[in-house]
Symmetry: C2
Subunit: 255 residues, 2 copies
């Protein structure tokens, strides 16, 4: 994986699931397809590469502390009054169907929110999500603001992220992760770098590959659908963000 591009002929959807690098090749196929569709930016490709390196050092698996974080995230989403899943270009390219499944399992809104915002790219991403089953995709009204950010980067929907109590922000940039935290929102961040500002700003940092993390959050959310508020609160309270970050960093450094 670190030795160059995928083997010739192995980047398309015809990758056999038995291939030892199936997940990595599928990921790469989806992200490149995302560029061709105008979903993923140049910055998104570079971010993908950074993620690959951290995932390689993590062992390319969901470590126990990440599974704990994914369960805590599911509990937060089920406990929320108004949960929103924030989607950028890489998220849409990598896990469009998985985002829709998680939104359905948790009655969450989906909102497109981009670092480099253009109406054209937002429309493309929203269309891609609708093609994967999303009924409604927010992010185009842009009548709300996140305080403390530049004009374009501050834009959100008033009835979406602005009024959310719990926000899942996969692959978020550090400035915005911190600004959302400063608004008092419960922030669930998926980021493969446990040292990043995004991960450190999160209520629940999930140090895992999005392609493994999202289905696992959904599975936990489905299992917790009938749980009482007290049960959900107990799961939420027992999660220790600092311990999870330390466990992930140990795994990366000492593996």
């Amino acid at each position: 994986m670190f030795d160059g591009p995928s083997p010739a002929g192995m980047t398309g959807p015809e990758i056999p699931e038995s291939h030892p690098r199936y997940e990595s090749l599928l990921t790469r196929h989806r992200i490149e397809d995302g560029v061709d569709r105008g979903l993923t930016s140049k910055q998104g490709l570079i971010a993908q590469g950074r993620g690959e390196a951290f995932d390689y050092l993590l062992g390319e698996e969901t470590i126990p502390s990440a599974d704990d974080a994914e369960r805590a995230a599911a509990a937060h989403l089920q406990r929320a009054d108004h949960p929103v899943l924030s989607v950028n270009g890489n998220v849409a390219a990598l896990v469009p169907g998985e985002i829709v499944s998680l939104a359905e399992a948790t009655d969450a809104d989906i909102e497109v929110n981009l670092f480099n915002r253009t109406d054209r790219r937002i429309e493309r991403i929203a269309g891609h999500l609708r093609a994967h089953g999303a009924e409604r995709v927010k992010g185009q009204t842009a009548d709300g603001r996140i305080p403390g950010l530049d004009h374009e980067r501050a834009k959100v929907d008033a009835d979406g992220i602005e009024s959310a109590d719990v926000v899942l922000v996969p692959l978020e940039d550090g400035d915005r992760a911190e600004a959302l935290g400063a608004m008092g929102k419960t922030e669930l961040v998926v980021d493969l770098n446990p040292m990043s500002r995004s991960a450190r700003a999160a209520t629940v940092p999930i140090v895992d590959n999005l392609i493994r993390a999202l289905p696992n959050v959904t599975a936990h959310a489905e299992a917790l659908r009938g749980a009482s508020p007290a049960e959900l609160d107990s799961i939420i309270e027992s999660f220790d963000a600092d311990a999870a970050l330390a466990a992930a960093e140990r795994r990366i450094r000492d593996a």
Copy 2:
């Protein structure tokens, strides 16, 4: 750096050198400009991201074992009968002037060699290098072959890489790095991942950012210009590739 794209307005050539992230921002500017110029591929952007992550873990500095490797690489280039510097899209985007300076300091040929070879991209890269002062750029004749690789990936110039005794291959893919090694060539590899097959296949693995490594190899080459063959051989013999890889991995894992 891991928290998302560069700050607004800081990606262009107007980045002040005093900026704490000057080198990182300049690198990112050059690689994105490389995409706009048709030099860098999608795979190249992902590879750039992987490199950023490893560089971050290394501390974004030339560690002592990398400086040793850069000096050994300079000695190999000065001792060679026919040294060749292999250039791909990312190398051309990131360090075009630095490649030309190193070629001049070591009387080396420059040859464009791409993982995803197209005549159009080779011509663009060669033109970019000529614009930075390269007199002759090889790679378009493609009348030589590297045994053991697929047809397109095997192509090299007969009077270039095929007949070289020492080849500098920055950011090479693992298959080709191993195939070049199997041809008996002395291979100098620049790769930020000390666990990669490229780094492990190298006679001299340089675990450092290209943007720091190349000027340092050039500086060592200039200092060694008057050295005797015995002095150069002594530098070459005293370099321990396994120890250098182990030192880099320790730095990444235990920092």
